[in-house]
Symmetry: C2
Subunit: 330 residues, 2 copies
């Protein structure tokens, strides 16, 4: 009845089940003729490999887990995801996803548990994980884990894009144009990316002998950028703003314009992400781009090769467009 098993294939091909197994695992020690016969039988019976059985007997599931935040709003995460999937697929691994609805420790623990139950051989955590609970560490102790953050989980490799670099590059660009002060609309404080970008901005200003103004915190969304933009617009003398994401940047632009501040004539703005629309909205946005796709792929590489936790630094490149200019009268 049920689906044919290796034993059935073996019978049909006149060999042992073990040989069929060898054919599937591409063991070198199978004669071409036998292989052909086996494959023919597979085809004829419509045999389908049973991954659960392999996992059980071999202890290897050939699956990696990916922890995501449910709200898809945040751009770079989805690029990371694509990279993870691609790299995993290429290495013959399946990807099982666990999304968490919010940044909550309990939800995180549950997601990790679920993945562990599935026997994943590695976990990529693509949400900001500020602190790890003992239970999380219990799980990640047994499973190679990469967190795409600067955060530390005991035993978890950490692959960090140095987001400070992004903040530094953006801020320096504005300073180079002649601006004397740069304001910052940051991402939510729970996000390491947000904190790092803010740090980069701060460092850059400090290095230039400028006292950083208080940062304004958004939530990555255009709406939040708009709200913070309304505040900035009420402050005189603001000529340059670094927004931690393109979406927020456009929100800021809108708020400024509504208050009669032109971009880039009155105020220059730099974003981060280089989303597809950055070049096509108005004004085309100057923004910092980083290769998150490759980053995701790197995470998988780190996982599967078990290489040491090399904190890889993905370079940040600036796409200069029309949202930045020298300050008036410069």
């Amino acid at each position: 009845m049920g689906n044919p098993s290796m034993a059935d294939v073996a019978r049909a091909a006149g060999v042992s089940a073990q040989t069929v197994s060898r054919v599937f695992r591409e063991s070198p020690n199978v004669s071409p003729d036998t292989r052909r016969r086996v494959l023919a039988a597979v085809d004829e019976l419509g045999y389908r490999f049973n991954n659960a059985a392999r996992t059980l007997s071999s202890g290897r599931s050939r699956t990696i887990g990916l922890v995501l935040l449910q709200s898809g709003g945040y751009y770079s995460r989805s690029a990371v995801t694509a990279g993870v999937e691609a790299a995993a697929g290429e290495a013959g691994y399946a990807v099982s996803i666990a999304t968490i609805a919010a940044l909550d420790t309990g939800l995180m623990e549950r997601s990790l548990s679920k993945l562990a139950d599935q026997g994943v051989e590695g976990i990529v955590i693509a949400v900001p994980l500020i602190f790890a609970t003992p239970r999380m560490e219990d799980i990640t102790r047994d499973i190679p884990t990469v967190t795409l953050d600067g955060s530390r989980t005991a035993g978890a490799s950490v692959l960090g894009i140095d987001q400070r670099e992004a903040g530094r590059v953006a801020t320096q660009h504005l300073l180079d144009l002649g601006h004397r002060q740069v304001w910052h609309v940051s991402g939510p404080d729970e996000w390491i990316e947000a904190r790092q970008r803010r740090q980069g901005w701060q460092d850059c200003l400090t290095a230039a002998g400028i006292e950083p103004p208080p940062p304004l915190e958004g939530d990555w969304s255009p709406e939040s950028g708009y709200r913070q933009g309304q505040i900035v617009a009420m402050i005189p003398d603001v000529t340059a703003i670094f927004a931690a994401s393109d979406e927020m940047a456009f929100g800021v632009v809108r708020a400024l314009r509504e208050r009669g501040r032109a971009v880039p004539d009155d105020v220059s703005i730099v974003g981060v992400d280089d989303i597809a629309l950055a070049a096509y909205c108005s004004p085309p946005l100057t923004t910092v781009r980083q290769d998150f796709y490759r980053f995701g792929a790197a995470a998988v590489g780190l996982l599967l090769e078990g290489a040491g936790a090399a904190d890889s630094l993905v370079p940040a490149s600036l796409s200069v467009r029309d949202s930045t200019a020298p300050p008036r009268g410069h």
Copy 2:
């Protein structure tokens, strides 16, 4: 050595493995006291459930597969994905993803195979699947499958958002404003969504006694919208355009403006998706919104309940903003 198994837990709790199993499956026939003892043992031993073993012995993997297109560019798909994940998670199902790099029959077959090997109990196909090959049908014959398309696979349920409605709503809005003709920048022809939206546009025009102009085909990206926009900008008398996605719409806007055509004063534009940026870019875009998240969730519901292939129609609502206006001198 290895991880503790149910047998180990059973020994520690002084019960049989079967009872431990019952505790996990929340069988009603376990005394509260026994349950407590078992859970205590689980905790003490750090026992972790082995999903592969369950799958093998019960034949149920509690996993569903999701087929995606690798390029994350297309908005509504990611919303669908979120819906699928959420609904599956709620029902206690894991989600395994298989991404395909391009719309290619071979890649599709391989992805389906991979999911089938994993023993998924259902498959959600979230890429346009124009035609099904015999091999695909072989696979989907045994596994409940929902395609989020109008496409037909023998035996696969089809959950269709009626995208024609989106096209109709957008076009009608423009006609209502007084425009005498509406041009269309469509998505790629391989995408059912693209074809349906185009159909809706066509139908609407025809119903109004207007002969539809030739549609211009984009690829959902802002770039493609820009290219097609450049062409439209060279045609005199164009006063209204319906773009099949918001990103393309903004590309069109840019091209028009560069050629001195103001939006909405000279040309009105409607998009589809209502992406977060739609309200914050310039001009705020009039667009058609559909609840793709719910759509994804519905797909999972259909899969798990095995209900008949109810072609559910998600209503399309129009968000009127500033990219549309009556034609000049109206």
